[in-house]
Symmetry: C2
Subunit: 322 residues, 2 copies
Amino acid sequence: MKVLIIGGGGFVGQKLARSLVARGQLDGQAIQSISLVDVVMPASIESAAIAVNSSVCDITDPASIANALDASVTHIFLLAAIVSAHAEEDFDAGMQINMQGVWNVLERARALGSVPKVIFTSSIAVYGGEVPDPITDHSFLNPQGSYGIQKAIGELLLNDYSRKGFVDGRGFRLPTISVRPGKPNRAASSFMSSILREPLNGESAVCPVDDDFLHYYLSPRKCVENLIKGAELAAADLGQNRCMLMPGKTWSIGQLIEALTAVAGPGPAQLIRRESQPDIQRIVKGWRFDFHADKALALGLSADESFQDNVRYYLEDDAPVS
Amino acid sequence: MKVLIIGGGGFVGQKLARSLVARGQLDGQAIQSISLVDVVMPASIESAAIAVNSSVCDITDPASIANALDASVTHIFLLAAIVSAHAEEDFDAGMQINMQGVWNVLERARALGSVPKVIFTSSIAVYGGEVPDPITDHSFLNPQGSYGIQKAIGELLLNDYSRKGFVDGRGFRLPTISVRPGKPNRAASSFMSSILREPLNGESAVCPVDDDFLHYYLSPRKCVENLIKGAELAAADLGQNRCMLMPGKTWSIGQLIEALTAVAGPGPAQLIRRESQPDIQRIVKGWRFDFHADKALALGLSADESFQDNVRYYLEDDAPVS
Ligand SMILES: NC(=O)c1ccc[n+]([C@@H]2O[C@H](COP(=O)([O-])OP(=O)(O)OC[C@H]3O[C@@H](n4cnc5c(N)ncnc54)[C@H](O)[C@@H]3O)[C@@H](O)[C@H]2O)c1
Ligand SMILES: NC(=O)c1ccc[n+]([C@@H]2O[C@H](COP(=O)([O-])OP(=O)(O)OC[C@H]3O[C@@H](n4cnc5c(N)ncnc54)[C@H](O)[C@@H]3O)[C@@H](O)[C@H]2O)c1
């Protein structure tokens, strides 16, 4: 097994690589090598048993992909993307990276003829508009942003390249990943990690929505587990659609804060400052939260048991050692 | 109003042009000119009042589109495509024409900044797979062929270019158009026009499926009417999704033949030869027929009253004068 992680310098890519190194095998066979490629040189990862290498690759450039992807690669995790706010601001960059870039990777795989597995990260941002609740695997994709459109197009391409036998694709619509480590970013969803992460690190954070605000979450640990399970699914079990919701759970802000307190005591929650932010509210209140990931659940993917797990995983996996 | 019909040499494009010439106006204003462009030089159309011109344009070539489309164009009917069997056989041609070509046209419109109306012809081939009946405007698009994938991507692009204010798009998923004039083609659906058209012209035709085979149809006349109505819809009435099913009606083969006999007497039906064709059956039995075009119906688009209309329209509009 030779694994290529495209976007391997990113948050999910780095965690996935560490997890694959720890497992040592994929699809029932030993992993020989893991290549992390990204438009920014990925941080290197320590491994005794497996050759892990990092290099630069820009998926908007077919020649750069050809350098990174040869016929010996058995599994491609296609994670490279720019996120929603960025794709909305810079329309051309979003189209080139999130749409054309995905097409470029699939075209390279097709040219090789080696039919690698391609594990693609879509997003719940493909849902939106006037589609009735609940949102299921059979709901119309009506993205209300360029990022979601680009992800939906990536799914369609992945499906057809799989149907034609050019790749063995599987795509997963990721919930919002929380608790995400690191710094807040400019995404409207940033507070959904900040209000937990910063207080756990003894810092204050702003919560811009009410306690009853509902959203669909998954921990980074479960996300990586699901991507690996997704890679190992038998093609025959995927049916006529290679893309599906990744299981998550819907929680209110109140439930997030209860979980924080249950795991870490009453201190951290007192560091959350309430500050109604109409700009943020306008965006996030348009998002969907009533998701039913039936297909993935039936195939053995799973969500966190309770949000207390999300908090615990952050403390175990990511919290700065103080 | 300056109208550009891309794919204007095709079956729908030619009928649309004639209909626009006869109307003389669009969106409440006089039509100044109609430009028919196509990769094959479109047949010219007689018009006393309106300047109608034909030229060659290949939508896979941005420079060729730039020649055909300038900022004075107010309405673009984007019909150019290769059909399902062709796109399935020649994957690259399908991707270049049906996907990249649509993107090229939208990019040209965006560069102009003139926000033309773009009326796009999608297809019921975007539906398929494991999505439950009935198929509505909120059903997941799960095309089981490259043509359908490319049309679904065209829809997503049209939606986002509209949301961003680059064009004022509206897309319609066309039912199978019957009775289509001309010769049989290699499409699996070809018999759905042949078994009516050939007998009406005194020739024999083969019906490869049973009397109870159900399918979703619309006459060419209604299709053109709906495209013009679709062009005239107010953007504000389209909501968060610019693409919708075009109304059609579901009929059995038995009902088609009854309608033929009701309009033309018992003679023609006797020219239909029954010949079970497993290859054709395998394809067409995978197609969906339980469609509910609620959105378009609410917006004033419509289907034929009865299949007798389809037969009559063929005799009035298309049958060779004998
Ligand atoms: N984290 C979430 O909450 C979430 C939710 C839904 C979907 N996703 C998707 O999951 C994937 C991973 O997300 P993440 O949180 O790790 O994002 P991230 O931004 O941390 O990682 C994405 C990586 O892609 C790289 N990249 C950008 N342009 C590139 C290019 N042209 N060529 C090569 N690499 C390029 C970036 O440098 C970055 O390292 C992405 O596809 C994202 O859209 C994430
Ligand atoms: N007729 C139907 O039953 C039906 C059903 C569903 C959807 N549609 C769609 O409706 C539209 C019109 O269908 P039609 O029946 O008139 O098809 P058609 O094949 O008669 O016309 C399509 C035209 O596009 C032109 N074309 C192909 N490649 C081109 C290119 N690169 N640049 C410019 N022009 C190019 C062709 O030369 C042709 O004249 C198409 O988009 C088709 O996919 C038709």
